[in-house]
Every structure is written in structure tokens, then in C-alpha cells.
């Protein structure tokens, strides 16, 4: 592998990591507070992409598309939380099973509605095309995704570390029951976190739609990546999601270049190892 190829492969890995972080951060937030894998997260991502696509087609505005994807999915997530998930709150297995059921329905409805073609979302005009960085041609949009991921990471860190809401979320992760007994409506906090997670999934769906396109199956693909990210990085930890995204992004990028046949081993092997050796992940446990 030449120097240029090495750099480019690294850049690819990092930009993929950016998208992965956007998806996985919402996933890990929900896990951290509820102790539940929301396996419908991939479908949220997919619907974010489709909503963004439709809005872009109708209005031509990328900002509106992003908002539609993020807010539309957040709204849908809120409704699902209120009508479905809340009924089994605290029974972890039931929550996971519900999320599986919902993901099946959402994916199938997306197929019925939007068909099977792979549709792409055009990037905003300012981010179309590519730039040359030290002899390396890289797409502007991929660069922007890295920047966006860093911004979202900082935003989430500030929210969690510096605000009262963030402190409430962390307290809920530490000891949900105690928080409840001190007069904080934990259900509402959980609902808010669920909506926030959905919002991130929806927004990342629009971004991912530019990256890879929107197509049936993107939901399961992204869900699996998010799962590997949070398991490798550490379940329920924001730093874990950062570390996990970068690791998985790079492993994927180099894995595809060097050993495409072993891709699944390269991805799921580490996940299995981490689960067995350090079930809470490399940086598990803390938000």
C-alpha cells in the first residue's frame, strides 16, 4: 500500500467513522439510560433518509431536508415511545423485542412506500465536488461529515457535562430508581433521551443518504455497524462511541482494502472478543 493510498484509506475510514458516530451516538444514548438495545435504530436512520430525500425533492432546500429527516423521525420516535415502548418500560427483553417488531414494520413500509431502488440525496451545493488536500483528492462532503461528527460530539459532551438536563441523564444512568425517588420524572427523561436518539438517527439518515444512498437494507447495515461500534467502544458511553466509531471506521476501510474476504471476521471478530473479554467494552459504562 503506497503512502497516498494509506492516507486516503485513513481518510475514508475517518469519514466513515464520522457517519458511524452520528448513528451510534443516538443508539448508545438510548442504551445507556434504558439498558436496552433499540434495534429499530436502523429503521429510524432509513426513514430519516427517505424523509430528507422527499423534502429535498419537494423544496430543494438541504436545510429543510435535514430538519425534516431529524424532526420527522424524532416525532415518530416520540409517538412510538409514548404508545408502545412505555408500556413495557423496564422489562428489557420486551423492549428489545418490540424494537425488532417495529423495525420489521418500518422497513417493510418504507419498501412499500419508496420501492426498492437505491436513491441518492444530492449534497448541498456548497459541499458538492472535491478538494485537494496535500495532493489528496477528497470529497468535500466527506470532510464536512467529519466536521459535523466532531461538532455533534462536542454538542453532546456539553449537553451531558455542562447542563442540568445532562446531569439528570447521567444520574439516571447511574441510578434510575434513586433519581425517581428524589422527585425526578425519569420516564419523561427516558422519553426525551429516546427522542434525542431518534433525532440523531434521523439526521444521520439524511447524511448517510448522501454518503451511500437510501435503499432497502441500509437500515440493517447501519444497525449492525452501530452495534459493533457501541460494543467495541463500550456500551452506553459517549467516549466509547467515539473510540468505537474510529476503530470500526478504520478497520472497515483497511479491511476492505486488504482483506475483503475476511470483512465479516474483521468486523464481528473484535466485537465477539470484546464481548467475551470485556463485556462492558473498551471504555464501558460511563456517559
Amino acid at each position: 500500500m503506497s503512502g497516498g493510498e494509506l492516507l486516503l484509506t485513513t481518510f475514508n475510514g475517518l469519514s466513515f467513522a464520522g457517519l458511524l458516530f452520528l448513528v451510534a451516538s443516538g443508539f448508545t444514548l438510548i442504551f445507556s439510560l434504558m439498558g436496552v438495545l433499540n434495534l429499530a435504530h436502523g429503521s429510524f436512520y432509513l426513514w430519516g433518509g427517505y424523509l430528507g430525500l422527499v423534502t429535498l425533492g419537494a423544496t430543494g432546500s438541504w436545510v429543510l431536508a435535514l430538519l425534516a429527516g431529524a424532526l420527522g423521525v424524532a416525532l415518530g420516535g416520540g409517538v412510538l415511545e409514548r404508545l408502545v415502548f412505555r408500556r413495557v418500560r423496564g422489562i428489557e427483553l420486551s423492549e428489545v423485542l418490540l424494537s425488532v417488531g417495529i423495525s420489521l414494520v418500518l422497513a417493510d413500509l418504507a419498501l412499500a412506500q419508496f420501492g426498492g431502488d437505491s436513491l441518492t440525496i444530492a449534497p448541498p451545493a456548497a459541499l458538492a465536488g472535491s478538494v485537494e488536500l496535500g495532493g489528496l483528492v477528497v470529497p468535500r462532503f466527506r470532510l464536512a461529515v467529519i466536521v459535523a461528527a466532531v461538532l455533534v460530539m462536542i454538542g453532546l459532551a456539553v449537553l451531558l457535562r455542562r447542563t442540568r438536563v445532562g446531569a439528570i441523564i447521567r444520574a439516571g444512568v447511574d441510578d434510575e430508581e434513586m433519581l425517581d425517588a428524589l422527585g425526578v420524572n425519569v420516564r419523561r427523561v427516558a422519553a426525551a433521551v429516546f427522542v434525542l436518539g431518534a433525532l440523531l438517527a434521523g439526521a444521520s439518515g439524511v447524511v448517510g443518504g448522501v454518503f451511500f444512498g437510501v435503499y432497502p437494507g441500509a437500515d440493517a447495515e447501519m444497525l449492525l455497524f452501530a452495534l459493533v461500534v457501541v460494543v467495541v467502544g463500550g456500551l452506553g458511553s459517549l467516549q466509547g462511541a467515539v473510540v468505537g466509531s474510529v476503530v470500526v471506521g478504520l478497520v472497515y476501510s483497511f479491511g476492505v482494502a486488504l482483506a475483503p474476504d475476511l470483512l465479516y471476521f474483521v468486523l464481528f471478530g473484535p466485537m465477539l472478543l470484546v464481548l467475551v473479554l470485556r463485556p462492558r467494552g473498551i471504555l464501558g459504562g460511563r456517559l
Binding site: E5, G116, T120, F141, G217, A218, A257
Partner: protein
């Protein structure tokens, strides 16, 4: 009590074994009443876009012909295989065993095709295979399967010779790593090397890869003058996007296989697609009355231009209808029916002229295509060059061809 229960069960079993259940017979020799035609297709899963086109092509033929063949109303029993082998076999079993289908048209996905080919040979029902098949079908030559549009390598072989003739001597291939992609690639690679070209490397992304950027980075410093693209559907869209995003346009020529720059892909790419060069046995922008009429009526009916999947669905139904007419308005015995299908030639069709060779493999004209702005400024494939009479073997004799292995990742042509 338990002993008695056991005895009863044994007796029932013994009784059952003595008198096997009777098979239900379907009368395939009827010449009146509705024809029931099974249609197995991928309407969900990664190939759903193409599958929808194929079904719409078939529906268009039926709409144009009043929903009848030889005066008999056609009941089209549509089944979705989700691109999965299991489901494909399941639904075909239902069509054949429960619904009493007279014949089955399908499937789309290559993996389903191999399984269905094996399954139908155990039944009395012919299989009309609309999409280029696996090479397996040439080697095994099932007597009750008719491959309407030839094989996967067949239409890519001419591009190998053409590339060398146009001065593209050093080529990298990037093809989907599953049977169909491997065979598409094999057809090209075999003839390309036979013509003196040098295959620098071969890249094999899995079907349904998420991110094509890593593959692009492998291409970025390649000394190749051209890249052969054997990707399908969504993958091809993603590849073209990454190709453009990484500023690859102009660095090497892209040479598309027949599925790579098909209409099902162009719809997802849009105006950027103009100028793409590929090979194929169908071109929706071909200047020919039959094709023009087909493209127009398809666009009128479905608000999009037809892909070769759509054309294949259309032709498969048309060919079936002609065979039924030639067979006295019935399907009859499966092997007989396939023999009738093999006896039909098309002086012209939406694809162009078609004949059938001695082994029952169809022979097509192959087009070198270039994407141009079509009706409503939508991109479509136009014909720049026509190569007539392309058969399944890439110009080899059947003796030689059949002595070689089936194209796979491990065998990409040449003397094994």
C-alpha cells in the same frame, strides 16, 4: 395407555406407508380456460428495483394484448422471492404444487435461478428464465428451462475485444462478488485477455457493500486506462457517486457491463450519467421502431424509462405467448414446450434480432452504448455500435466452451 398410544401411531404409520397419497394432476393439455402463469420475481430486497421493472415489463405486454394469449385469459400469479433462494423455492413450489401453474416465468436473482432450475426439473412445469442466466444453465442444459436472454458472460464478452481495439490495453475490473457478478466479469476478462489486453487487478466488492470509497482508493493510483464495472443496481449507483466524489472522472475510462449502467441505475444517478459507456443487448434509446414504441409506452404507463429488466420481462411474456400459439394454444409437456420456444426466431424485437442456436441458447445483437440525454432530459442508453450474432460461448465452439469450468472468482477465462 402409552403402549396403546404407541401401537396406534405405528398402525397409522404402517397404514399410511401402504397406501401412498395420490398426486393431484393438472391438465396441461387444456386449450381453453385461463392460462395460469407463475411469475417469480424479486420485489423486495436489494434487487427490488430491478424486480419491479421486470414485472412492469410483463404487465405492459399483457395490457397491450388484452391480458390474453391465444385467446385464453392469462392469470399472472406474481410471487416475491425477496432475492432469497429459500423463498424463491418456496413460492415456486406453491405455484407449481398448490396453484397448478401451467408454466413459471422467473426469477430475477441469479442465486434463486440456480435453485429454481434444479427444482423445476423434478416437476412437469417449464421455466421461462427472463434474465441472463448463470453459465450453469449452458453447461447443464436443462431440457425444461428456457433462457430467454442468454447468459451473464454472453453480452460482456464483446466488450473485451472492443476495449483492446479502442486502445484500452490495461484494465482493472470491479465486479460484485457473487455468481452473477463473477460471470459478468469472466465474460469480459476472458475475451479481453484473449485479444491481448492486460488485466492489472480484479476488485471484488461484496454485493450490497456500504461504502465504495475504500475500493476507489485502490483504483486511485492504478496505471490502468480503463475500469470495467460489473456492479449491479444500488452498488453501481454508489460506485458512480464515489467515483465522481473522489475526482476520478477523467483519470480512467469506465467501461460498463450490461447491468452496471442500466436504466435502473441511471435513474438513481441522474444527469451525471451522461457519457457513460457500456455494453448490452438492450438499449432503451436504440433507434428502432419496436424499441421506440416499447420505451414510449413503458414511460407512459410507469413514468420512467424501461431498464433491460423491464424489456426482459416484456420479451419473456411475448416469447411465451408465441410459443403457446405455436403449440396449439396450450403449454403441454414441459420439454415439448421448451423445444417449441427454442424453435422461435425474432427477426426483430425490442432487443433486436434474436435467433436460437443448436443447443437452445439464444443469440443476440450486442450494442456498445453511450448514455445521452433522452426524453425529458432523462439519461438513457443510445447505441454507438452494433455487434451482431453474439452467442453464449464468446465465439468458442461448444466443445471447447463446455470443456472449460464455469466462470467464477477463481476462473476468469483463458485455458484453465
Amino acid at each position: 395407555m402409552r403402549a396403546r398410544a404407541f401401537t396406534i401411531t405405528l398402525m397409522a404409520l404402517a397404514l399410511a406407508a401402504c397406501a401412498p397419497p395420490a398426486a393431484d394432476d393438472v391438465d396441461v393439455h387444456r386449450t381453453t380456460g385461463p392460462l395460469s402463469i407463475g411469475f417469480v420475481d424479486s420485489l423486495s430486497g436489494p434487487l427490488a428495483g430491478a424486480g419491479t421493472d421486470m414485472l412492469q415489463g410483463a404487465r405492459l405486454w399483457l395490457d397491450e394484448n388484452g391480458g390474453t394469449m391465444s385467446g385464453r385469459p392469462v392469470e399472472l400469479l406474481v410471487e416475491d422471492d425477496h432475492g432469497s433462494t429459500e423463498t424463491g423455492v418456496q413460492v415456486t413450489k406453491r405455484l407449481v404444487e398448490a396453484n397448478g401453474a401451467d408454466l413459471v416465468i422467473g426469477p430475477l436473482a441469479g442465486n434463486v435461478g440456480v435453485a429454481l432450475g434444479r427444482y423445476v426439473t423434478t416437476t412437469e412445469v417449464p421455466l421461462v428464465y427472463p434474465i441472463p442466466t448463470s453459465d450453469v444453465f449452458v453447461h447443464e442444459n436443462y431440457p425444461t428451462v428456457f433462457p430467454v436472454t442468454g447468459t451473464a458472460p454472453q453480452f460482456n464478452a464483446p466488450l473485451g475485444q472492443w476495449a483492446v481495439a479502442k486502445g484500452h490495453r490495461r484494465v482493472v475490473t470491479i465486479c460484485s462478488d457473487y455468481a452473477f457478478g463473477q460471470q459478468v466479469c469472466g465474460g469480459f476478462a476472458d475475451r479481453f485477455r484473449a485479444a491481448g489486453g492486460e488485466l492489472i487487478s480484479q476488485i471484488w466488492p461484496p454485493l450490497g457493500s456500504s461504502d465504495f470509497a475504500p475500493f476507489i482508493s485502490q483504483l486511485q493510483r492504478t496505471p490502468a486506462d480503463a475500469v470495467f464495472v460489473g456492479l449491479i443496481g444500488a452498488d453501481s449507483v454508489k460506485f458512480l457517486k464515489a467515483w465522481k466524489d473522489f475526482g476520478m472522472s477523467g483519470r480512467a475510462t469506465l467501461l460498463g457491463s450490461d447491468p452496471a449502467f442500466d436504466q435502473a441505475v441511471l435513474r438513481g444517478v441522474g444527469a451525471d450519467a451522461v457519457g457513460l459507456v457500456s455494453v448490452g443487448h438492450f438499449a432503451e434509446g436504440r433507434d428502432n421502431p419496436l424499441t421506440r414504441k416499447f420505451s414510449e409506452s413503458f414511460q407512459r404507463a410507469y413514468k420512467k424509462l424501461p431498464s433491460y429488466y423491464a424489456a426482459s420481462g416484456y420479451l419473456a411474456v411475448d416469447w411465451t405467448a408465441r410459443a403457446i400459439a405455436a403449440n396449439g394454444g396450450k403449454v403441454g409437456e414441459a420439454a415439448d414446450f421448451v423445444r417449441v420456444m427454442r424453435s422461435i426466431d425474432y427477426p426483430d424485437s425490442v432487443f433486436g434480432p434474436i435467433t436460437v442456436d443448436d443447443r437452445g441458447q439464444p443469440v443476440y445483437s450486442v450494442y456498445l452504448r453511450e448514455v445521452a440525454a433522452g426524453p425529458g432530459n432523462l439519461p438513457w442508453n443510445t447505441v454507438t455500435e452494433t455487434i451482431p450474432d453474439v452467442g453464449a460461448t464468446g465465439g468458442l465452439s461448444y466443445d471447447e466452451y463446455l470443456s472449460r469450468p464455469i466462470f467464477s472468482r477463481g476462473y476468469q477465462g483463458g485455458t484453465p
